[in-house]
Structure formats: C-alpha cells, structure tokens
C-alpha cells in the first residue's frame, strides 16, 4: 500500500551492479520504502547499475531485480541509461518490464523535479 502523496520527490542514481556490494540492495530498498511512504520516486540505473534490470528470475537469496519490480509496481519511475545498456547488450527484451531505456536527458528531467538526490556510486 502506498500512503498519501507527500509532495516530495526522491531520485536515486545507482552506478554499481548487484552482488558486488550492498549498494544495489540499499539503493533499491530505499526507493521501495520511499514510494510506500508516499514520496514520488525516480530510479536511474547508470553504468553497472543497469545490470539490476537484468535480474528477472527468482533467487534463493537477495534479489535486487525483484525489489526493482516491486518499486515499479508501486509506481516508481525506473530508467536505465541508453548507452550503458547498449554497451552491455541489454535491451527491452532482456530487462525487467517497466524499466525505461533513456538517455541522460531523462536523468536531467528526473533531477530537475527532485527534492532530494541520492547517488550510490564508487
């Protein structure tokens, strides 16, 4: 359940891939919780962060792909960098449904409307 609109927007930029550090887990769980609490949420997957959109199957362990699907289902906007996906042979057919492939202009749009930006990188 999503609570009443808080009137604020959070954008999360994730540049690290899944299963290499906790960044993907913390970033996507934060996005999910923020959406549940009624904030508008944008997630931009950049560099190796785009791999999170490639996790489509169930796992017996932490599953950032599943959490990303929950975010989309709750109304978060999730976009993956066009060039970063192309470089990794990711395309609409092999990423999670609902993840938009967009350029950095999409990121700029997200940033312009944001009250807060969290960047998980490095």
């Amino acid at each position: 359940m999503v609570k009443k609109d808080k009137g604020k927007t959070l954008t999360i930029i994730l540049t690290r891939g899944p299963y290499i550090s906790d960044y993907a887990d913390v970033a996507i769980n934060t996005a999910f919780q923020a959406r549940r609490m009624g904030y508008k949420v944008n997630v931009f997957l950049y560099l190796d962060g785009v791999w999170c959109a490639h996790i489509k199957n169930d796992k017996e362990f932490n599953n950032p792909g599943e959490w990303l699907r929950w975010c989309i289902k709750k109304g978060a906007s999730v976009a993956a960098c066009h060039r970063c996906t192309a470089a990794r042979d990711l395309e609409e057919s092999n990423i999670i449904e609902g993840v938009e492939i967009g350029g950095v202009y999409r990121l700029l749009d997200m940033l312009k409307e944001s009250d807060k930006v969290l960047t998980f990188m490095g």
């Binding site: 959070l10 919780q33 904030y39 807060k116 998980f120 490095g122």
Partner: protein
C-alpha cells in the same frame, strides 16, 4: 562545541549515509571529517550507518570510534541499522555508547533523507 554559527551559504543541516567500512576504503573517514567540519560551523549533522558501515559503530580504541564519540559529544546524531548489525554478526552491546538504533531501517533512512537533513551524501 561548534565554534561558529551556521553560515548563510550552504545547507543548514547535513546528513551522511555510510555504507562502507574503514578496512576497505578511506571514504568513511573522509565523510566523517567533512561532517565534523560541517558541525564545527554550527550546522545540524546526522550520520546513518547501513550495510558494511555498521562495522564502524563498534566499540574499540580505533581512530573512527574516537571520531564518532567526539562527534556525538558535539551534538551529532548517529543512527545504526539493526538489520545490518544482525547481518554483521555482532551484538548491540558492542556499539559505541550514544549510537541510536533505528526502529525500522529503511523507514527511518527515508525520513532521515527526505525530512531531517537538507543535504545528504552517501559513501
């Protein structure tokens, strides 16, 4: 104690989320030094430890434990994620005194970011 009032420029409050530990990178120490400088200018400062960042909340005669204790004495709030402490495999009685345990990690983290601190960085 803070030596100056918060300047008119820059954020009035500053939050730091630490998700890494000092054994793998200098970043947590750099972030703490920045937070300490912010506090010395009279700004409200908070620190939230998640993931591997919870390791720096352990008691001990380490540089980072000393910095955190001093910062808390200067009025900095330090929060720690209970689920990540559990995952790290140590008990809360090994936390540096004064550190507050979050009630619900991600709910409290979102409130920290969206409502409590004007600017928030992650390291």
């Amino acid at each position: 104690m803070p030596s100056k009032q918060a300047g008119e420029e820059g954020p009035r409050s500053f939050g730091v989320i630490i998700a890494r530990t000092v054994s793998t990178t200098e970043r947590p120490l750099d972030a703490l030094r920045l937070a300490k400088a912010m506090r010395s200018q009279g700004r409200k400062v908070g620190i939230f430890l998640v993931a591997d960042g919870v390791y720096i909340a352990k008691k001990g005669r380490t540089e980072v434990a000393g910095i955190l204790s001093q910062m808390m004495a200067d009025g900095v709030k330090v929060y720690v994620s209970p689920e990540h402490i559990k995952a790290a495999g140590y008990s809360i009685d090994r936390l540096i005194p004064g550190i507050e345990i979050a009630e619900e990690t991600y709910r409290d983290l979102v409130t920290f970011v969206m409502e409590e601190y004007e600017k928030v960085i992650i390291c």
